[in-house]
Structures are given as C-alpha cells and as structure tokens.
Point group: C2
Chain length 152, copies 2
C-alpha cells in the first residue's frame, strides 16, 4: 500500500477543523497509508525570514520519497491532474510527501528543495482550511483513480 505523508506547520486548533480532517483521514485509509507530520511553528523568532528559515529546516528534514509543495505560485492543477500526479509518481516511489507551509509561506530553501509545486488557486486560505482542502483533494484523487462515484 502506498504511503502519503502530509507535512505541515502548526496544529489545528478549532474542533471543527480537526473533525473535518479526521473524517477524510478515516476515508483515506482504504486507499493508502496516510500520515500527517505536524511541525512546530517557530513564531517566537525575531523576523518572518528567520521564522521561515527555521521552519524550512524542519520541513526539509522531514521530506521523504517524492515531494510536492502546495504553493500559490505553482502549477495550477485540476483534481484530475492531482490524481494523475499521484498515479505517475507512485510508479517511481512508494512514498509521496505533500508539504503545506505556515500562514507566512515557506523559505526559499524549501522552494529550491521541492521542484514539484502545485497551486490549487490564487486565493489565500487560512492554514487550517487549506489543510482540509488538500486532504480532501488527496482523497478525491484516489476516488478518481478508482473510478468511484465520489467524483462526478
């Protein structure tokens, strides 16, 4: 079974985001081993750049297999394209890592380390909502690949 890792910075606070996330994680279990790696936010440092550098170091340490970064400036994709991305890359690696930055983004080092950059749109989403959207898209991708009725 393929392993999907979601690396993100910070914890979900509100119960409704935790419950929404857990609903999709539960549903994902029939398709893959899904793991969330929640890195600590480093927001007590002196500047945004320093914060992003510290978080970036931690993100890079946690990359494994083939990695993808969600980045508004990345390649704008459809749900079908995310599904194809998973399909073509699991032929090369049994572990795929998806990365979401913090509310301030990610450091330049992370952008350099991860060549595959995916954009879901041009709008800014709060970190917690973005995480739920991305987990839903991963769940949708597996449904597309399996041809279920979830994706019309």
């Amino acid at each position: 079974m393929i392993k999907i890792r979601l690396v993100c910075v910070g914890k979900l606070k509100e119960k409704f985001w935790v419950d929404a996330q857990n609903e999709y994680i539960k549903r994902l279990q029939k398709f893959c081993k899904f793991e969330i790696i929640e890195l600590q936010e480093k927001n007590n440092t002196s500047s945004v750049t320093e914060t992003l550098n510290k978080e970036g170091f931690s993100i890079i340490e946690n990359l494994s297999g083939i990695s993808f970064l969600f980045d508004r400036e990345g390649c704008l994709v459809t749900s079908e394209q995310i599904a194809q991305l998973i399909k073509s890359n699991v032929q090369k690696s049994s572990v795929l890592t998806f990365v979401i930055g913090s509310s301030c983004g990610v450091s330049d080092q992370v952008k350099e380390a991860i060549k595959n950059k995916i954009s879901l749109g041009k709008v800014t989403l709060p970190h917690n909502l973005a995480r739920v959207v991305i987990i839903e898209q991963i769940y949708r991708a597996f449904n597309i690949l399996q041809g279920t009725s979830y994706h019309k």
Copy 2:
C-alpha cells in the same frame, strides 16, 4: 450596512461544516448583514439537466442586487481581487448576491443570468467545503478592505 447574500443549493449535513460556517458568519457580522439562502436540492427528478433547470429556476428567483456566480470556468481571482470586486460593486448596489451551485453545477439559464463569474481554482471541491471556503473569502475580503491583520 451592506447586505451580502449567499444563495446555495442544499443543506450542510455534518456538524463540523455547520460549525465552521457559523464561525465565519459570526465574525462577518461586524462588516455586513450576511444572509444564507439555502435552496432545496431537486435531486429526485429524472435527469441532471432537469434537476439543474429546476434548481436554476429557484436560484434566479432568489437573485437580488448585483450577482456573482462561483464557477470553475469563471475568472480566476485572488483574495485581493474579491475584495476589490466587493468594494467597487457596493458603490452601485447595497445588496450583493453570491451564488454557489449544487454538486452538479448550475443550469445554462443561471450562467446566462449572472454575468459575473468568479473562479477560486480549477479543482473540484465538495459543495459543503466550497461553501466554507467562499464564506471565508468573503470574510477575508472585508478584512483586506479594512486593513486588519487577518490577511497577511
């Protein structure tokens, strides 16, 4: 105070979506009169086209002021552009109506009736999650216009 109406088809089922929605509606109250108009899903009709036509009739009946349709094929916008859209249109009308279709989309009549089509991205979102994303974007738009720290 300006009035923002969100016309959508179907009800939110899961408690976590209702709670997420209500959190943003609560926060929106300091910026506008926000109203959700939940139209009945017409999914017991014989074909998708017929369903969309019936729902579309109901959507068109509920348009008021200047209307915007969320449509994947519409104009891809940033959060800042949504804010500018609200700003420039409230000078012409004190009521703005945003429309989200059902999981099958909207009828051609609705697409003809609403000239302003906004796209948040190319991915397919479930109706409930799309609704939460859109309410958050409306909340974010007001924060952008007021220059608060919510939008970095």
